[in-house]
Structures are given as C-alpha cells and as structure tokens.
Symmetry: C2
C-alpha cells in the first residue's frame, strides 16, 4: 500500500521534564534535586533541556526557584539550557540568570489561550513580539510553543491554517524553532502526519519540533507518523512526567525513555544513553515519592531491563 | 520523505481476551462471568472471539471450564467463536462442544516452543498436521498462531525466513489464517513493517493476522506500521489483559480499546462500539479486582470519556 517511508537518521530530543513535567506534578523537588536532575540529563546525552520558567510564583509555584537552579547547574557548552518566559519581566529574570535560550508560548485555540494565560491570541502575539525583540537583541535564541494544535479540550477541532499562520508570525519575529504541541493528547496519527507535513512544507524541517502527550496512548504512533514525514525534533519528558493543569483530562507528556527506546529500536540516532534515562527516572520516583508512567520505564522496573 | 502510505478501510479485530488474556491473569473468573464477557463482546460488535482453550487443566487451570463457557454463550451467527486446541484430545473436546473454529499454535523459536509446550518445532508441526486434518474433515475453520516471530526471550533474534517457512507449511495443511505473534513485545516498528510486508507478499492479506503485545509500549506504533503495509486483521485483548507465563518480562496483550481507538481516530472501520468496550473493561476490573492496563481505558477512567 505505497512505498515504505524512511525515518530520519538522527532525531534531536528536547527534554522538557524539569519544566513542563515537574510543573504539573503534585510533589515539589528541592533546588538540589532539580540541579541533579538537569546535570544527570546533561550527562545522559540530552542536548536541549528546558530547565524551568520565569513565571510569577503565584501562577506556578513549582517554578519559583528557577533562578537558583540555573545558578547551580553544570552548564555543558554543547547543551542548550532553556527557560520559559511569559513576558518581559520573565525575560529580564532569565537574562539576569545568564540564560541564552528562552521559549515563548501561546495557544492556537482562543479559549485555551484565554484560560491558560488570560489573553487573546492577538494580545499574546504582541507581548511575544516584544519579548522576542528584546531577547534577540541580547543574543538569545528563542523557541516558540504553539499549543493545542491537534485539538483543544474547550473548542474541539483547531483549524491547522491558524497554527500555520501563528507559526509564520513567530518565525517572522525571529523565533528559530516552533514546537507545535498536542497539549492534551487529542492528536491522531494521520492528523499528526498531515499537520507535520504541512508545517515542514511551510517552514522547513529545521524550524519544526513536535510536542506530544500520551493521554490516550497514541503518542508513539503519532511520533512515528511525524518522523515518516521528516520531523527531526521531538519534545519529551523524562518518566512521562507532566500534563496541563488548565486542560481537563490531560496527563502525561510522552516519556523520554519511550521515545528514545522507539528511536533506538528503529535505528534512529539520538546520542542519548537510555540506561542513564532509566536511572534518572528511578531517582525521580524516589525524589517525588510518585509512580512515573513512561511505558518503557515501567517495563524496566518489572525487572526486565 | 516518500509518499504517505494509506491505511486499510476496514480492520477486523480478533478478540483474544477471554483466552489469551484471562489465561495469564492471576484471578479466576466464574463461568457466569466469562459467559457475560463473551456475550458483551459479541454485543460490542466483535466478530471473532477466542472464547477459551481445550488444554489439560493441569497446565492451564484457568481454562478448565471452557466447555461450560461454550455451552452457555449466546452464539451470534455472524460471529466466529474460537477455541485453542493443543492436540487431538483438545480438538475432540472442542468438537464435543460444537466448536467450529479452532486455533493451533507453535513457536518460531525452538527454545520457546520447547519451554512452552515441551516439543520441538518439528514435533509440534506433526501434531498440528493431524489436528488440522481432523478439524477440517469435521468442517472446522482453523487458525494458526506462530509465536515469538519478532524476537524470543530465550534466543533473541528469530530468523523471519523460519516464520515464513512455518507459515507456508500451516497454510499447506489447510489453516486459513496465520496469526504471527510478537509474544513478548520485542518487535520494533520497522521490523514489524518489514516482516508483515514479507508475509503479505508470501501469503496474501487475507491469510495474515498480527498479534501484538505492548510490553515496551510499542504495540500501537507497531500496529500502525503493519496497517501501512496492508495488514487488515489484528488480535487484541480487552483491557490489555494477558501476557505469557513462559516468557519472562512479558506482560500485556495490546488492549482492544487502544487498537479500536487508534483505528476510529484514523478513519479505519472496525464495526466495534468503543464505549461498549470500556464498559466491558470496567466490569472486568470489578470481576477481577485488578487494574487493567489499556491506555485508553485508563484514560477513560480518569473521567475524561
């Protein structure tokens, strides 16, 4: 039924666990535990790590210590350490922590954007424009998250033309990579394949990352479809930590172990040591006192790896 | 990166939960509970159900009541009710229960076959030949399971040529469909795609079913790859019940809800009511007092469906 599609030779993993993951876990880690987590991820071979966010602690108390974490991590010159910034104030805090890689974010659904950050998409876009300008003038690289691109828990279907239009405006501002997010795991394989193919056609492979959640168990199938059409950057969260507190029913970023295992098994290079990832998840379970949901991690804990 | 492959319009699900699933759960269901399970699966729109096995109760005590289950289920004329039979004695019991669809089985790994049924592959083949002859002369349709086709926990890699050779001999005997099994979930997406493509080339689409386990979380990704090369029959187990007691580290047939959800989401028809499947899994959890692992079922139980 058609020629077999090829997978890319190399895929880059953007580890979002320390921010997107931990932010949505009930337990809090200490600064020392977070520093160890980031240092261990660096040692495991991850080349992009989202360390934290500079968001008002009233909104995300779990991230209140991001500056302290940035102060103490061992910064490998080959690794990009990212911070999420919602506005100019956040950017200023990031710059004070000598952060050189910042991420901005908005939703492709008006309702989700309003519920998540209490602004219209147009209002978010203007704030992001100001942040990107200032960040670039300070020499920062900027990543742009667009969420709910394959479905919104409030609005249902999201018009992918709107995703492409938001993406184009972010790239015009000087954002270097878009991360399009299936924020509540509503995406389906053919939808993800088609959306990613369109985004790559518009923006090119280098400019696109895919951010998947495993809410309904489809994350790896969706990832595989994206790889088939040329996606080469995947966001993932160690142990499958995280979800979205503003999206009912959402839980679980796709686990880094799950993605790396599938890529390893498919002959796609990541440069990441999966055994090291499993040790990190085990440490996280001890630190959090919680059970992590990554499928491959759970398999490993059954004594099989 | 190559043209996008098409998925089939319709996929047939062979529900193996009442046999392969329950056989490997610690808890026992009563005959009445099993009958309800099979009747509910029939009502949900499943068209092939593996009801039980006629195996010596010393080996599989969970299946000792298969005759009683067959006696009491409501047999829909549009549904095939399968029984697994290991030998002539099993076949005789099946025939005595007016079973018209029987399944035979062997492994593509010598070591796995020896540990599972204490025979060489050649010995199993001769016994199967006798069973298939007798079954066909009584008007039965016969299905043939070949296990460990994408990897054996004892031997590691399995030569797919051996799988094809065993498959050819089963079809020569008069088996109408082969179910090739990733018994311990060792299969990887490209491996499954290539194996299924080769099997379809040898035997045709109609003769092939794929039996997946979600041990490492790859079952849906593997299923998707199989669909892309034309596989149209998938085995699945309600709630993700089951594993293989003779295969260390193995757990979890792919969940029927997970497969049906992915197919529904991809526009592939199954004729199955997924809401009914979720109700069946909920009843099974109550009957078993156990937690089922199907991803989509767990998602539904988070209050999201």
């Amino acid at each position: 039924m058609g020629a077999a599609a090829q997978l890319p030779k190399h895929v880059n993993i953007v580890e979002v666990g320390p921010r997107d993951g931990l932010q949505n876990e009930r337990v809090r880690l200490t600064v020392a535990q977070k520093v160890r987590l980031v240092d261990d991820l660096t040692a495991a071979g991850i080349r992009d790590i989202e360390v934290g966010s500079f968001v008002h602690p009233k909104w995300i108390p779990q991230m209140a210590d991001t500056a302290a974490v940035f102060d103490s991590i061992r910064r490998d010159p080959d690794v990009n350490y990212w911070a999420l910034v919602p506005n100019m104030r956040g950017l200023e805090s990031a710059l004070a922590s000598t952060v050189s890689h910042v991420a901005v974010f908005l939703s492709s659904s008006e309702t989700h954007n309003m519920r998540n950050i209490n602004r219209t998409i147009a209002e978010s876009t203007e704030i992001i424009r100001e942040v990107v300008d200032a960040a670039r003038s300070e020499g920062c690289t900027v990543r742009g998250y667009i969420s709910t691109v394959f479905g919104c828990p409030y609005e249902g279907d999201v018009d992918f033309d709107r995703v492409l239009s938001i993406g184009a405006s972010l790239l015009d501002m000087g954002v270097s990579q878009l991360s399009i997010g299936d924020t509540t795991g509503m995406g389906t394989p053919l939808q993800v394949r088609d959306g990613c193919a369109r985004a790559i056609e518009e923006f090119g492979t280098e400019a696109l990352a895919l951010h998947l959640h495993d809410t309904r168990g489809l994350a790896l199938a969706n990832a595989l479809m994206a790889l088939e059409v040329g996606v080469t950057v995947l966001d993932a969260s160690i142990g499958g930590m995280g979800g979205c507190p503003y999206a009912p029913g959402a839980s679980g970023n796709v686990g880094t172990e799950d993605v790396v295992n599938m890529l390893d098994a498919s002959g796609v290079e990541t440069g990441i040591d999966i055994a090291a990832l499993l040790r990190i998840s085990r440490q996280l379970e001890l630190d959090c006192g919680a059970t992590l949901n990554s499928r491959y991690y759970r398999y490993s804990q059954a004594g099989a790896v």
